[in-house]
């Protein structure tokens, strides 16, 4: 059995770890609340914008989403949205596994957002063609460089994490191009055409810019969704770590008390043995 003083030291470290995980858990909880608010706000904003965008009547041949001459020798693009750092459970690993199972990666170029995803890909021996850090600010997510990198591809699929509840986050994917096209096809009422609306610049120029803008927005939304899911996953990971640290602390305390009792028993035994020996010695001297 280990010495009680050593166990006490270990228990102190575990106690510190428990306190730390508790702090991280609180931080993650605050982050979840903050991100949830942002996701709701942005959904409202994007909803209004989609409504305006889908009211535009654009010649299908002019659509970015129907553009000709795209495609990198038939290769497709995947945008993988991950966390910028670890401590978010197994969420990024699950995203990568889903992406692997659903795609022929020999015909796909991976664009990864977030350092954690990039390192996980490298660990699995998967190559990525481009890497972007996640935007530092949640207030203005500039994804223009990412969109520029994937625009030459015919198919652009985004893999990301979605928040379902605090206890559940799922891996999702969307086809960025068809999502924009679908949105534009759905809306029928209240159309804006150049017969009844002034367009500056022209409708054609606006149409060209708008699809790219909407792609940027759709991607920004997935980044926000992903950040919310990661915050929730981090919260869960920290809760589990805190629970585990609590259990461990209990075990250490029990072990400490056992060790203490064992040490005092040993000392008592030593004293008794000493007394017995002394008695024997004095009895032998008396004889």
């Amino acid at each position: 059995m280990r010495r009680a003083s050593l166990i006490e030291k270990d228990a102190e470290s575990i106690g510190t770890l428990k306190d730390l995980t508790n702090v991280f858990e609180s931080l993650a909880s605050t982050q979840v609340a903050k991100m949830k608010g942002k996701v709701l706000e942005s959904q409202d904003f994007f909803g209004l914008l989609w409504e305006r965008y889908t009211s535009l009547r654009i010649d299908p041949k002019r659509r970015l989403t129907n553009r000709e001459g795209v495609g990198n020798n038939g290769r497709n693009a995947i945008i993988l949205i991950s966390a910028e750092a670890g401590l978010s459970g197994d969420l990024d690993a699950r995203v990568i596994e889903t992406m692997q199972s659903e795609n022929d990666l020999s015909k796909t170029d991976i664009v990864v957002l977030g350092s954690h995803g990039a390192s996980q890909l490298t660990q699995r021996g998967l190559k990525y063609s481009r890497f972007f850090k996640l935007p530092e600010s949640d207030d203005f997510i500039d994804v223009s460089p990412v969109i520029k990198a994937v625009l030459p591809y015919e198919r652009i699929r985004v893999y990301y994490e979605e928040y379902v509840s605090l206890g559940s986050q799922i891996v999702k994917s969307i086809d960025l191009v068809s999502r924009i096209a679908d949105m534009s096809d759905k809306y029928e009422a209240g159309t804006m055409t150049d017969y009844d609306t002034i367009f500056e610049p022209s409708l054609e120029e606006i149409a060209e810019q708008m699809e790219e803008t909407m792609m940027r927005i759709a991607l920004s939304q997935t980044i926000l969704q992903s950040a919310l899911a990661q915050a929730a996953s981090r919260f869960n990971a920290m809760t589990m770590a805190e629970d585990r640290a609590g259990e461990l602390l209990g075990e250490y305390r029990r072990e400490f008390h056992r060790a203490k009792r064992s040490e005092s028993d040993r000392r008592l035994r030593e004293v008794l043995v000493g007394i017995k020996k002394k008695r024997r010695d004095s009895a032998a001297a008396g004889a």
């Binding site: 942005s42 305006r52 207030d139 203005f140 609306t197 002034i198 500056e200």
Partner: protein, 88 residues
């Protein structure tokens, strides 16, 4: 661009994804697009424009004027409703 008919004010919503700059009745909204500076006044024709970086200026019916900088944006006018989406 103003029509001769009645409206004396426009309903303006100006917002970014996480920020509401202004919401309420206004007398005018001014911004800049690829062609140059433009104003939206009551009775403006239906309008759709991409905004260039610069200042947006709103003159509310009541209270002080509101102005803010935008990096990009879209402004739409439908009837007397003006929606400005900034910094996307």
């Amino acid at each position: 661009m103003a029509k001769n008919s009645e409206p004396k004010q426009i309903k303006v919503v100006a917002r970014a994804p996480f920020k509401l700059y202004f919401e309420g009745p206004a007398l005018s909204l001014s911004a800049r697009n690829a062609i140059g500076k433009f104003d939206v006044l009551p009775g403006h024709a239906d309008f759709f424009s991409m905004i260039e970086p610069g200042e947006v200026y709103i003159e509310p019916v009541e209270g002080d004027p509101v102005s803010f900088q935008v990096a990009n944006g879209i402004v739409t006018v439908r009837g007397d409703e003006v929606m400005l989406f900034a910094n996307m």
